[in-house]
């Protein structure tokens, strides 16, 4: 019996492994379909946010076409915010 059992188990494992695609590394949202040429200037956008009281520890352009910041808002709460880079609207926000 073991040979059969082993091959069945092997098949089950293989099927499960194929079925499970790896977790996208903490995938963020999709923010805009507009081409980067129509996006706000990143440096200026960042400066504007700082003028609004955000302390920005990290500013990135994500694979989902967002501007994303990690930092603190003016109340001192830790925030992670995704912005639509074409109009600067907040798409998603996490606070801590």
């Amino acid at each position: 019996m073991p040979r059969d059992a082993l091959s069945t188990t092997g098949a089950v494992c293989a099927a499960l492994l194929i079925g499970l695609s790896p977790t996208p590394a903490l995938a963020g949202p999709q923010c805009t379909r507009k081409p980067p040429a129509q996006w706000l200037d990143a440096t200026k956008f960042r400066t504007d946010l700082e003028a609004q009281g955000y302390v920005i520890a990290k500013f990135k352009t994500t694979s989902g076409h967002c501007y994303e910041i990690y930092g603190k808002d003016k109340t001192g709460a830790k925030v992670e915010i995704y912005f639509d880079p074409s109009d600067g609207k907040i798409v998603k926000q996490e606070r801590h």
Binding site: M1, P2, R3, D4, A5, L6, T8, T9, V12, C13, L16, L17, L20, P22, T23, P24, A25, L26, A27, G28, P29, A57, K58, Y70, G71, K78, E80, E94, H96
Partner: protein, 179 residues
Amino acid sequence: MTASSATAAPDDRIPLVLRLYHGALAASFVGAWALESAWREAHEWLGYTLAGLLLWRLFYGLNGPQALRFTTFIVGPRQLWRYASDLCHGRAALRIGYNPLAGWAIAGHMLLLGALACSGHWLTTDTFWGNDALQSTHASLVDAMWVMIVLHLGGVTLASLRSRRVLPLAMLSGRRYPH
């Protein structure tokens, strides 16, 4: 291959508290995974729940019933190798309780989940807020955990075939079968 003559006494069940722990652990991992982007608060609370469950298991593994103590089911490399080789040759005896591979699988699950909970907590601190390296570590640990779960399901499937019992039922009813 014959079933070991030791059969479980009727009252010798997997304790309800361990079955609840197993269910809660699985639910909090899968829940935390599923809710990561949609509901971050729930993700975090499920992560802390998971950490609490692990701490309980750690305590239980040191002070709980003999069969469920780490010293009972985590065996040395030589015994582990012998069991694996017996298994491959189809001559591993059926037995009640965790087999050596299962014992190490439990340790692997607990270590991965512990690392996940710690890295997850650190990601919420000022120091590591938005830290890329820690974020990808956390994500890789999740992938490793899924691999672990697939191995676990594969092991349970193999053991079920060997024992001709539907072993996952043991985690519901608590009835132990030689496997």
